[in-house]
């Protein structure tokens, strides 16, 4: 999974408001998701960062944590996933 392009919604300090923006918990400012991340960036658990995630194409993949290897998608937030571990 190519995770070079990072967005604000990849950051643990980002508090999502809607599909375009959220609040930065460090600055308390409204921030556009697709603007550049800053030095405070802290990786948020997402499928695309997980050892169990294997991409099948740019937008889809599978989760190898479960026996059936269900499909998954890279942008899924995984803070509540018991199988998540950073790759």
């Amino acid at each position: 999974m190519d995770v070079k392009v990072l967005h604000h919604n990849d950051c643990l300090n980002f508090c999502p408001v809607d599909v375009a923006k959220g609040l930065c918990r460090r600055t308390n400012e409204l921030t556009l998701i697709d603007s550049e991340t800053c030095e405070c960036y802290e990786r948020l658990p997402k499928c695309k960062f997980c050892t169990n995630y294997v991409s099948t194409d740019a937008q889809m993949g599978i989760c190898k944590a479960e026996k059936g290897e269900p499909w998954a998608y890279p942008e899924m937030i995984a803070v509540t996933c018991k199988w998540f571990s950073f790759a």
């Binding site: 599909v19 375009a20 899924m76």
Partner: protein, 910 residues
């Protein structure tokens, strides 16, 4: 939509009517020259204000987290008993929701991790996404390469995502989804191919002999939507009692005990007796999911407590964690914990199904035990409670519903109708209107927002100061509370639910579900610190179900044109081939077509709901409502105490009545025109261009066609024919004729639960959409424009004899024969100015209620303000108006509805 550019000879309808002395924007009373603002303005607390502003700055946003986990778990359990499989899927979905706590919140949790979030449920309805998959993919691809600098545009449309921008794809001009989630959304939709309630329902409804006619009726928009897969639950009253009384751990224990008692035993019920075991197991499973969900929020609060540098904010996160860690297991100890519990239960039910109109019921009476004891013990203050109630308003205003797209826009105007009832009588017949309810009103004044909307269950016994507080709140321009007649509602409930055992005590528990749906409720004893209280809560099935929104004027149109819809060119009904030589023949034919409509819609919708109850039954809402836990049965097995809730809903009553009156007068009695002349005028839109031609469905924008003068005389006569709303027995007798028939006719139809249906008479926003597909009508209304709103509101500008004449017209029939009736009145702020004006408003309400009316609600606003808001929406993001049973932000309404609200008769004297 811009005002059409007029050629020199063209005239707007509004100008023509003005020349005739019947201005479309009619004002009753002396006109006020200056723009009048609303009189009372109170401010919310800074915390509540900041959170509300965040809402106003938020877009309606969708993600697929919940459906992803639901679907993933569902697929793992192929072959499992349906209710257990569904409970496991729900548990997985709740357990994986990402917890987000926004700074400043004291009440937490929500439907999704977006502030104004929702999500589709492909197991319910999926064909829209499959049909649009190419379009969505294309948009996602294009969006992926769009400039990240593009920003959402606010102002017109409010928080609606009306078009694609940046990496955001618009779904149906309302919801935004991140482009990177679109492939997952489409994949989810395809995984439910041939399995969703929509598709399965469709497969079996085609077996109904009347199916072909039903499809034609849907295409002609004589009916607005199928209720089985769009909004299978809603317009009902939730019940918070069990978790408030026992806590979640207590409920799990209760279910385990019940399981031991029923496992393997039919106990005399060979049909569903054995199902009780699976039901209790499913309830335990979903409660575990809810506990995981709550504790995930607690965990997040603990994390934030540690990393937050601001000590006050860090302490508040700690308090949130402590509160959630407790209520995940036990009965709430404080008012704040109890309020938080009701919030999370509300969101839980809304995440279980596509629901609109899940009403909290009489929240001020439900939470009174904690309020009373906290105050007495010095654990809280009125100021703290007042702020919490404002925060509760923000939380509820953030609720979004992702139903089918046509329903969200065309019917609901993006509203979610969480109606909070207050007042009425207690179990023993004593008046309510307690101190906490007055604080709820005060919170509604201070933090003006759409949700929860408020309803006063008006009863002669209610204290005067409470009623005056209601009237004062209306004057702030919120449109709430609406007034519903408690005694009329009780009569309706006893009539409809006596066969299921309703008595006067349960009838007194009445609350409003959705806009203004009288809903069956009950009382339960709650013990708090050794003291017993009887608290009310919902005990009935949804009332959003049945036959929903029949366009009365469109049925009449089909009668006049031998069953054909000229817009689609389809023969909707079998040709009646009658000459319609008498009014009686016309009326009989109308009734025949109407009954055909109801019959085919009732049978096909029954099948959809039957599929829903078999595969998509409610588990969460079911365990909350009496008597599911006692019986061990869910909603689909008649577990609820009251099940005769399916109804038949009409739209455009007054436009139809005025049209029948005009036909009776001009064609049958005065014989001034033949029916063919009337038909010709209707087809030619009385000489006006069509709404489609000019690109506007607004009644204010309609333009005369060149040469259209040949229809001037007939149009004039149609406009001048007697109209409802003027205490004119000629017109009102037709309303009476219709209501006596309609309310009785609906009882002839049966829901899938074997219970008789009943009449429901509200319009929500369908008078806009259904008006847009209807030809010109014999009352002089032009093609494509809105019908009269609600069911008792006069057509704009036609009620000319003052409010009391309107009241007399509206109460010429027995309102207790229907679940509701609806009257909207627009009043100029100057007419109700000062304390004297508040009392006048109450007396006006009282006068209507004493005539036996069911409902009235007010827009206290100057039409000049609305016009300016239409021209400059960017200056009016917070302007609220009452539409038809709900309050909405002006900027989130479609233009036809905005125009209709502007055009409503403005009362400058009362």
């Amino acid at each position: 939509m811009a005002t059409p550019v007029l050629e020199s000879r063209q005239k707007l309808l509004a100008e023509i009517l003005m020349e005739k002395g019947i201005p479309i924007e009619y004002r009753y009373g002396k006109e006020f020259e200056d723009v009048a603002d609303r009189e009372i303005k109170n401010n919310p607390t800074p915390r509540a204000d900041a959170l509300k502003k965040l809402y106003l700055n938020s877009l309606s946003s969708v993600n697929v987290e919940f459906p992803y986990w639901y679907n993933r778990e569902w697929r793992k359990w192929d072959g499992e008993i349906p209710i257990i499989r569904r409970a496991k899927a729900l548990k997985a979905a709740f357990s994986h929701l990402t917890p987000v706590i926004w700074p400043g919140e004291k009440l937490v949790m929500g439907k999704t991790y977006y502030y104004r979030g929702s999500f589709p449920m492909p197991w319910l309805s999926n064909t829209f996404f499959m049909a649009k998959s190419d379009e969505l993919y294309k948009a996602a691809l294009e969006r992926g390469s769009a400039s990240s600098g593009e920003e959402a545009k606010f102002g017109a449309g409010g928080g609606n995502v009306t078009q694609d921008f940046g990496n955001v794809v618009s779904i149906a001009g309302k919801f935004g989804i991140r482009s990177e989630e679109v492939p997952a959304l489409v994949k989810l939709a395809y995984e439910w191919k041939d399995k969703s309630v929509e598709e399965l329902g469709h497969r079996y409804e085609m077996m109904v002999p009347e199916y072909d006619m039903k499809e034609k009726i849907m295409r002609s928009v004589i009916c607005m939507f199928d209720s089985g897969f769009t909004l299978p639950q809603g317009r009902e009253v939730i019940n918070y009692y069990y978790p408030l009384a026992y806590g979640f751990d207590g409920l799990i224990e209760m279910c385990k005990e019940r399981k031991d008692k029923v496992a393997g035993r039919a106990d005399g019920d060979g049909l569903v007796g054995m199902d009780r075991l699976y039901y209790y197991e499913a309830v335990i499973t979903v409660i575990e999911g809810l506990q995981n969900w709550i504790l995930n929020y607690a965990k997040e609060a603990r994390r934030l407590e540690k990393v937050t540098t601001d000590p006050t904010q860090a302490r508040e996160y700690g308090e949130i964690a402590e509160m959630l860690e407790w209520i995940a297991h036990y009965q709430p100890r404080t008012f704040k914990e109890a309020l938080q519990m009701t919030c999370l239960l509300h969101f839980a039910v809304l995440n279980e199904d596509a629901i609109s109109g899940m009403s909290p019921g009489r929240l001020g009476q439900i939470l009174y035990p904690w309020y009373e004891q906290d105050l007495a013990a010095g654990r809280t203050t009125r100021e703290e409670v007042l702020e919490l109630l404002q925060l509760h308003r923000v939380k509820f205003t953030c609720i979004d519903a992702f139903a089918s797209t046509g329903v969200v826009g065309g019917v609901l105007s993006s509203n979610t109708f969480n109606n909070l009832s207050m007042g009425g009588l207690n179990k023993f017949g004593d008046p309510e209107g307690n101190e906490l309810e007055k604080l709820i009103l005060e919170a509604g004044q201070r933090l003006q927002s759409t949700q929860p909307t408020l309803s006063c269950l008006y009863d002669e016994k209610l204290p005067e100061d409470f009623l005056l507080k209601c009237a004062e709140t209306v004057k702030t321009g919120t449109g709430y509370p609406a007034f519903m007649n408690n005694q009329v509602a009780i009569q309706f409930l006893l009539d409809q639910y006596a066969p299921e055992g309703m008595d006067i005590s349960d009838a007194r528990a009445i609350a409003i579900g959705g806009c203004l749906e009288t809903s069956p409720c009950t009382w339960k004893p709650l013990v708090l610190n050794g003291k017993e209280y009887w608290i009310p809560g919902g005990a009935g099935q949804p009332t959003s179900v049945g036959v929903h929104f029949i366009a009365n004027p469109k049925v009449l149109e089909c009668v006049l044109f031998n069953g054909k819809d000229y817009r689609t060119g389809e023969q909707v009904y079998p040709p009646h081939n009658r000459k319609l030589e008498t009014f009686e023949e016309l009326w009989e034919t109308f009734k025949e077509y109407y009954e055909m409509t109801v019959d085919c819609l009732a049978t096909t919708n029954n099948i959809q709901h039957d599929i829903w109850r078999k595969n998509n039954m409610s588990v969460i809402n079911s365990f909350l409502k009496p008597d599911c836990l006692e019986k061990g049965l869910h909603i689909g097995q008649l577990g609820y105490r009251y099940n005769a809730t399916f109804n038949i809903e009409s739209c455009g009553t007054i436009t139809m009545v005025n049209s029948l009156v005009a036909l009776k007068k001009l064609v049958y009695e005065d014989k001034k025109y033949t029916l063919d002349q009337m038909r010709d005028a209707m087809l030619n839109n009385f000489g006006f261009k069509t709404a489609k031609e000019i690109g506007s469905f607004s009644l204010l924008s309609q333009v005369k066609r060149e040469g259209g003068e040949v229809y001037d005389k007939i149009h004039h006569d149609c406009l001048m024919a007697p109209k409802y709303g003027n205490d004119d027995p000629y017109a009102d007798s037709i309303l009476r004729l219709y209501e006596d028939w309609f309310c009785a006719m609906t009882r002839n139809y049966e829901s899938l639960y074997g219970r008789k249906m009943y009449a429901c008479q509200i319009s929500v926003s369908t008078h806009g959409v259904q008006g847009s597909v209807t030809l010109a009508t014999p009352d002089g209304r032009l093609a494509g424009t809105t019908y009269a709103d609600a069911s008792m509101s006069a057509y704009p500008g036609t009620d000319r004899n003052g409010p009391f004449a309107l009241f007399n017209s509206a109460t010429c029939w027995d309102h207790s024969k229907s679940q509701n009736s609806q009257l909207n009145l627009k009043i100029h702020p100057s007419a109700v100015k000062g304390p004297e004006g508040t009392r006048k408003l109450l007396e006006l309400t009282r006068a209507y209620m004493r005539r036996g009316a069911f409902h009235i609600q007010y827009n206290v606003v100057d039409s000049k303000v609305l016009k300016d808001a239409q021209a400059h929406p960017e200056n009016y993001r917070e302007l609220l108006v009452r539409v038809a049973g709900f309050t909405q932000y002006w900027v989130e309404l479609g233009k036809p509805i905005q125009d209709e609200v502007i055009a409503r008769t403005e009362y400058e004297e009362i």
